[in-house]
Amino acid sequence: MPNFLTFSNILPLAELEVGHHFYWNLGGLTVHGQVFLTSWFVIGLLLIASLLAGRNRQMVPAGLQNFMEYVLEFIRDLAKNQLGEKEYRPWVPFIGTLFLFIFVSNWSGALIPWKLIQLPEGELAAPTGDINTTVALALLTSLAYFYAGFRKRGLGYFAKYVEPTPILLPIAILEDFTKPLSLSFRLFGNILADELVVAVLVLLVPLFIPVPVMMLGLFTSAIQALVFATLAGAYIHEALEGHGDEDH
């Protein structure tokens, strides 16, 4: 997408740069540097919070420990609701990290004024606003549910493609492609659209007017994280149970 709002040079804070990336070359591979910079920030935040909270765990929690325990209970509930009491425990780290990474990424993109940090090219934003990140997460989710299915039922996992009737085989196969596609594009589209709307509004009216849209962005960001994690849990559950074609 071209940098269509070139007149925004009057307001350096309100610049729109979609499709411009801060490229790094790693031995012939090009990567988007800005995505990694913010994702490292997000990962660092998560690790620091966990380490700080876990430094001195008490039987009666207080402060940060209490908060992180609340987070863990929330994630456990989420995984338990999707996978059921019996199966959920091994999947808590995966689903929980999906939720935490996406949630912190989205909110850091919405709350932290990354644009104050100048890059040679492109701009810092939520890592989830880059299609590479969301596709990576969605493909990992696909791998996760295939792994879950094969681990639980071996090659019998393929039976779910012809159950209840082989007529639905093409649809069942198609589902394996639509699942990661919808997961990744839903997240990517929501986050990028939110950033664009806020950027455009800030460009037009720099004060106050964008605030409600920003709040809405925070809300949708949280919802998208929840949706991604919940759907990942639902897909894994489906692979474990093999109830054929539940369409989500």
Partner: protein
């Protein structure tokens, strides 16, 4: 916008690393804390339930003992009252008999003295009447 490159696999690897590291520093230790706590609360609850039952049983035992003791005390009091009653009535009858005896003795004495007095009176009456008779006879002669 749809600019796929090496970011995708590297991000996936990075994410998997994050899953493993967070599992080590967050999910496992915090989950252990949560499980330990719920286990602790459960065991404490069971223990206190037992102790509550025990103390209830003990209270019941003490109550039964108390009732028993109270009954004993009542029977002792009743016994003592009966004893005192018989003692008192015995002493009463004895005293009544004694008083009766004294009264009878006094009555007897009174009767004797009355008879004696009557006898003396009779004698004096006889004497006086003899004297009267003698006086009348002497006057007439």
């Amino acid at each position: 916008m749809f600019d796929f490159d090496a970011t995708l696999p590297l991000m996936a690897i990075q994410f998997l690393l994050l899953v493993f590291i967070l599992d080590k520093v967050f999910y496992t230790p915090f989950g252990k804390t949560l499980d330990d706590r719920s286990e602790y609360v459960r065991s404490k609850r069971v223990g206190s339930q037992e102790r509550l039952d025990q103390s209830k049983k003990m209270a019941e035992e003490y109550e039964a003992e108390l009732a028993e003791t109270r009954k004993q005390a009542q029977s002792i009091v009743a016994e003592a009252q009966a004893e005192a009653q018989t003692l008192a009535s015995a002493q009463m009858t004895e005293a009544q008999q004694e008083a009766q005896g004294q009264r009878e003795a006094a009555q007897k004495e009174i009767d004797q003295q009355k008879q004696a007095a009557m006898a003396t009176l009779d004698q004096q009456v006889d004497q006086l009447s003899n004297q009267i008779v003698e006086k009348l006879l002497s006057a007439a002669s």
